[in-house]
Symmetry: C4
Subunit: 328 residues, 4 copies
Amino acid sequence: MKHHNNPNEFQDLGLGTRTTGRGERMLNQDGSFNVDRRGLKYFEEKGIYHWLISMRWSRFVLLLFSGYVVINFLFAWLYMIAGTNNLDGMTAVTFGGRFMEAFFFSSQTLTTVGYGRLNPAGMWSNIIAAVESLAGLMTLALATGILYGRFSRPSAKILFSHNALISPYKDITALMFRIANQRSNQLIELEASISFSFLNKHDRSHREFRNLVLERSKINFFPTTWTIVHPIDDDSPLRNFKKQSDFLEHEAEVIILLKAFDDTFSQTVYNRSSYRAEEIVFGAKFDIIFGQNDKGIVTVDLHRINEYNEVKLPDYVYEETEKEMAKA
Amino acid sequence: MKHHNNPNEFQDLGLGTRTTGRGERMLNQDGSFNVDRRGLKYFEEKGIYHWLISMRWSRFVLLLFSGYVVINFLFAWLYMIAGTNNLDGMTAVTFGGRFMEAFFFSSQTLTTVGYGRLNPAGMWSNIIAAVESLAGLMTLALATGILYGRFSRPSAKILFSHNALISPYKDITALMFRIANQRSNQLIELEASISFSFLNKHDRSHREFRNLVLERSKINFFPTTWTIVHPIDDDSPLRNFKKQSDFLEHEAEVIILLKAFDDTFSQTVYNRSSYRAEEIVFGAKFDIIFGQNDKGIVTVDLHRINEYNEVKLPDYVYEETEKEMAKA
Amino acid sequence: MKHHNNPNEFQDLGLGTRTTGRGERMLNQDGSFNVDRRGLKYFEEKGIYHWLISMRWSRFVLLLFSGYVVINFLFAWLYMIAGTNNLDGMTAVTFGGRFMEAFFFSSQTLTTVGYGRLNPAGMWSNIIAAVESLAGLMTLALATGILYGRFSRPSAKILFSHNALISPYKDITALMFRIANQRSNQLIELEASISFSFLNKHDRSHREFRNLVLERSKINFFPTTWTIVHPIDDDSPLRNFKKQSDFLEHEAEVIILLKAFDDTFSQTVYNRSSYRAEEIVFGAKFDIIFGQNDKGIVTVDLHRINEYNEVKLPDYVYEETEKEMAKA
Amino acid sequence: MKHHNNPNEFQDLGLGTRTTGRGERMLNQDGSFNVDRRGLKYFEEKGIYHWLISMRWSRFVLLLFSGYVVINFLFAWLYMIAGTNNLDGMTAVTFGGRFMEAFFFSSQTLTTVGYGRLNPAGMWSNIIAAVESLAGLMTLALATGILYGRFSRPSAKILFSHNALISPYKDITALMFRIANQRSNQLIELEASISFSFLNKHDRSHREFRNLVLERSKINFFPTTWTIVHPIDDDSPLRNFKKQSDFLEHEAEVIILLKAFDDTFSQTVYNRSSYRAEEIVFGAKFDIIFGQNDKGIVTVDLHRINEYNEVKLPDYVYEETEKEMAKA
């Protein structure tokens, strides 16, 4: 008596089992999930590094410059407290002018430019400057590290065909979609893992998940395109989805996880995407987008990745499906 | 005649086979093990990098500043030995004043601020300054590298339900616990590997280890929660643990290893934890913590991750277990 | 009724299924593919990081210095606009001389050398200098990060025998080629994955791909050489390629993917290469290139990696193949 | 008719098939192999990064300082050629004195200290200084990157028992050796892969290799020790090695590859070692080195990792082996 490993049983794919409500998609186009996580405080959820590395560039640059101004402002106060006569070379006489000079002296110390017209003469200003230059080096090292981390963060840019198709395949049908590497670098050992999600026929508040078996789930190289194919055979969870409206009615969604080794970054990269019911085209076939250029080299027109022709699906597929349903 | 691969034989999980004594847990909450390693010297055990990267932040900052002071102190002596008349721009006349100026000149050289009011004029002070600025750059590069290494060190923050439950599962029972990603970043291809440890019935100084087979040991995505389920079937090492006191008596501990790919750090991360006998609740079921917000989006209340209800376990499970024991 | 996993069916290896035309090889010696990708704009294809990390060294250095000149030029204009009387210590009187001084002052600020003879005195030049030193630190941190990234980018340098051989192997034949690690560092857990590509017999515009089963596809260590062997048995896609001209006629190509862990870089590295029909030698055997030096240590002469002797292939192999073809 | 995957056939483990001559071990204690690679030039073998990252620390520091002196020497010449009257603030009058000042000015520019007493006044010295400060930043960034790369290079330090033992194991015998993590950091998912190498009985110039099947080849955690066990059953390549002299006569060597995830470095690490015939003890059993301290915590005395007791091996093992040999 085994109670596990039945592939058609309930599968907890880590996506929960609730509906997303009024037809919202589960997986957004940017790879984030449509889930409202509650009960944790902001900084419990966001580690500081996660926060810095994933914020928008405009925010990051703003944060960097504000931090720079604030730190210089604070150190300027410390130099004022230590006494401006301790700062050699100061020329201003008003309080505001002196503060401004202290502020710029601080920025020269923090960035280790140290022109030297202004320089610390007394003990206290020397101590503050010594601490500031060390702290500045450390803080700016963190800032530059994060800047470079943001810049060199590996990511796979994959072009997906806008639609997934239900196409004829051998003597049955198959779910197909087409992908290409948007970047000209090489992705090696590309693996695909596809899940199918739909509302339970009887309890529409319950969402079910199935893995889809692929004709081929891994390729070694990826210089052109790859058509990912799930044959809709008797074991497929899609065997009873016989027309577009079946997908719509069950709020079906095809969820895709791609994994590859990026030859430029020398790192493993992931990419995720999904197709919703509306994006599945029933009875269509992708166009061939390969050609040949003047030099006899194979060309591939990535602009046409989504182009397809409508085709009639084989009748007997439906008959078979109906017979099978009669038996069940 | 095969002598290996019998899953119910003795398994050396690398945890030793001795008891931890008076009810101490083997795996602490911080992921360290309750083992007293002896026979090695401190720095044989701790590589210098390991030591620097894993010490507390307060200690690290203290060490950094003390190192800075010590190095400047040493170089200040060297400048004093080379003669302070070799340092252009010095104004102090007392020994203490001159030493202080040399000290701050050293700090300006080490951090490459180099204001220049003080500057090396003679050959020896020039040589010392040239060496110091290079050594300073190298040392501070190490310091900033370690600082950034500490800061960007990947780690998975996983919320575990406080208790593991023995719940009804199909027509039998199962050991279940619930986890969530504390961070809002994505963990991909999360894998769980669970071991069960208990004192040998006959020789209580001997600790045994078994792997627990899971209903599902890997999920692709982890945006909400995952309930990890070990079905207690006829092959389960838990099949004879029929009440809370059985777990307590054998000082049982469930040891968990999680592995995932962190999408932010682009690296593999691990997390470990354990449940002790006291933390296992017999006859309970986790509450559903999914809901729906105003916009129809699924919500998950991570605050309630440990909430469960007591439930009655099916009678026939016990009967079956008893029959089986009678046979054995 | 299964529709997948038949290893001799059509295999989409991500390489497309078109011919490369007039005998061009698919996989170039530098690991790039002979494909003309169209329909994307230049910077859609090239991420900026990919572009910077994979350009030629000469270009990278040129870009670095031009960028440096351009940035200093721009900041020099800003200092001119702010007024050169705001730059303390300027000695030039002509416009050109002042611009040149502003230019060099900018370079001293950007690199944080900050000699200080020239230094900002007014508010505006101070603000520009404060911004420039921060921006300079950030920009140069990116530049140095990319420089180091280029320098430390892991790559496996593998020596391949110039030819792949069809050699006698047990009572049949096998496709063999020999590789060695060009570097003296260790490659660990080296894995090989080999594909065979040829034009379809009936439709010569269609290219087919097969995986080749290896006698051994993984080795733990790689200190000397490894002869990779595909036995041409009844299941081999090469079983009907009985003479050199068969390979030529079908524009056959053997495509190789190697994967290993580099012990020096502590990272996974990949290497790819291919043998075309002309590079396959029919009826030959690699020479033994092992010897022994004065101290009794095994020697391996990597210079001779491609040396082979012609040998007669067993007759009955052909007979068998013919019989089989008669049956089909 | 299959020609592959017979585990007892010839196995090319990438180690060649020649003897190492007069009893030299194949795998040295430092993880390097006893092979004399010939036919490649020095820098074909050694990539520059490999060379810099794996040289001894003393050499690296020496190289760093020599490079610093050489670069400053070269730039000093350039400043001399540009004319020392272009360097503001120079005080020396002799050629040697001026050269020395130019040398130190160069070092101040290269490290971006830039005190400023000496500073470039003419166009040419300004251009040289601008180039030097940029080149200096880049070069020192490489140097510091390599320095940090050397420092933070992950490596597993594993304690191996000095001897491998042939011990009683159930009703047969087994080859056993014991390992521990020398560092106090955690190694996760430790995997062992063991090969056995010996001279061919009939052709002593030919070395054979076999994989050894382990009782358990992977552990999740490694806080104490792990005894790696190869049961010598009827399929074991060690089944005919019945006494110490059999190992010696065939120059046997047990070659070990360990792989783990280092929790501190967040990276995969490898370790390799070997046992030669002399290091295999026939008829012995490892002592238990676990204890308990005052607080009831398990202790493990890593100092005693190699301690073993001689034990008699079961007689019938030999009888069985003899019967089997009679049959063969």
